[in-house]
């Protein structure tokens, strides 16, 4: 397909999509089901005061379970594609020179970011925040360390794998408690809902942070012998 034709088709598709969407949004009917009201009515039984956490980890926890699996699939493929020449990759990971300013900066910044992450996790049970945001923040701390040249790259050893899967493992175990007592899958035992949700969120935070960090750390490196300039443009 030549460039001209492709651009024309792409433009037609884009304009048509915009027109259709505008029509659909403008003329959309008003719904009869009031889901926000239903959420508010049942919020007291969920074990959490924050409605979004209630939706993510109680009403629609099955979606979240599959979402954690999606993250794990991404990291499995990353390991599969990174590991195949891990020796080369590791040998090419010569550390860029670290200057004292960067060291000092990351020493102060990273614990702060991690602390904020832990706060965001804890806050998630009654105000905005939760496992995914907290995990991302802690992963960001790891990314900062790596960009500053700290040698935190490692092999995909068993400990890392345990960490990556721990979130899903604990989630599945807690979700299956109900099956033993004849309740539907993913039902939390009464009175313990809040504690169990918090437990799930805590391990999820750890696993998500490790997962997101792994997606960054195990990206295939620019291999072969080459001039390795310290990647300063990346640090901004």
């Amino acid at each position: 397909m030549n460039t001209q034709l492709r651009l024309t088709l792409a433009s037609v598709a884009g304009v048509a999509l915009f027109a259709l969407l505008t029509l659909a949004i403008w003329y959309h009917p008003t719904s009869t089901v009031d889901l926000p009201q239903l959420v508010a009515n049942s919020l007291a039984e969920t074990g959490t005061e924050h409605p979004i956490t209630a939706v993510l980890l109680n009403f629609r926890s099955y979606d979240t379970l599959l979402e954690v699996a999606v993250l794990l699939v991404a990291v499995v493929i990353t390991l599969a594609l990174a590991q195949q020449d891990s020796n080369e990759a590791l040998s090419s990971l010569e550390q860029p020179a670290r200057d004292s300013l960067v060291i000092a900066l990351t020493r102060r910044l990273v614990p702060l970011v991690v602390l904020v992450g832990v706060y965001v996790l804890w806050a998630g049970s009654y105000q905005p925040g939760g496992a995914f945001q907290a995990g991302a923040l802690i992963a960001a701390a790891g990314v900062l360390l790596r960009l500053a040249g700290w040698p935190i790259h490692q092999r995909a050893n068993l400990l890392l794998r345990v960490g990556l899967t721990l979130g899903l493992v604990v989630f599945i175990m807690i979700a299956s408690i109900a099956l033993v007592s004849g309740q539907p899958f993913l039902t939390y035992p009464e009175r313990w809902a809040g504690e169990l949700i918090f437990a799930i969120e805590t391990v999820l935070t750890l696993s998500i942070a490790l997962t997101l960090l792994s997606l960054f750390l195990f990206s295939p490196e620019a291999l072969s012998s080459q001039s390795r300039k310290p990647s300063k443009e990346k640090a901004q």
Binding site: M1, N2, T3, R6, L7, L9, A10, S11, A13, G14, V15, L17, F18, A19, L21, T22, I25, H28, T30, S31, D34, L35, P36, V39, P51, I52, A54, V55, L56, F59, R60, D63, T64, E67, V70, L71, V73, A74, I77, T78, L81, A82, G130, F132, L212, L215, F216, F218, S219, P220, E221, A222, L223
Partner: protein
């Protein structure tokens, strides 16, 4: 005075809400990034276009639902899931892309090389 300029409603009618406005912006973002997704050939560009398109979808999801019913935690939770899924997909695409380059491929797919 300046704050008033920012916070006063632009339209007298209550039909044109912030929510509806952002849903329409979402539609426009989707349209433009579709052109980018199919028009561009560089894989990184296409990955970015996918992410922008995703943001447009999320704006419609929250905007349209909250237009009638006020703050709705359900679409917000769905979008949160969507953001995490999108970042997984983006990371995966980038990793396959990098490995493809490392194996001797170029930054465009073979059919887009002229």
């Amino acid at each position: 005075m300046t704050t008033e300029l920012f916070t006063t409603e632009l339209f007298a009618t209550e039909l044109f809400t912030t929510e509806l406005w952002f849903a329409l912006i979402g539609a426009l973002i989707i349209g433009i990034s579709t052109i980018g997704f199919f028009g561009a050939t560089h894989i990184l560009k296409r990955i970015m276009a996918f992410n922008l398109m995703g943001s447009g979808v999320f704006l419609i999801m929250v905007g349209l639902a909250q237009h009638d019913r006020g703050v709705d935690p359900v679409p917000q939770a769905l979008v949160l899931t969507g953001i995490v899924v999108a970042v997984s997909a983006t990371a995966l695409a980038l990793i396959i892309f990098r490995r493809y380059i490392a194996s001797g491929g170029q930054s465009k797919l073979p059919e887009h090389r002229s």
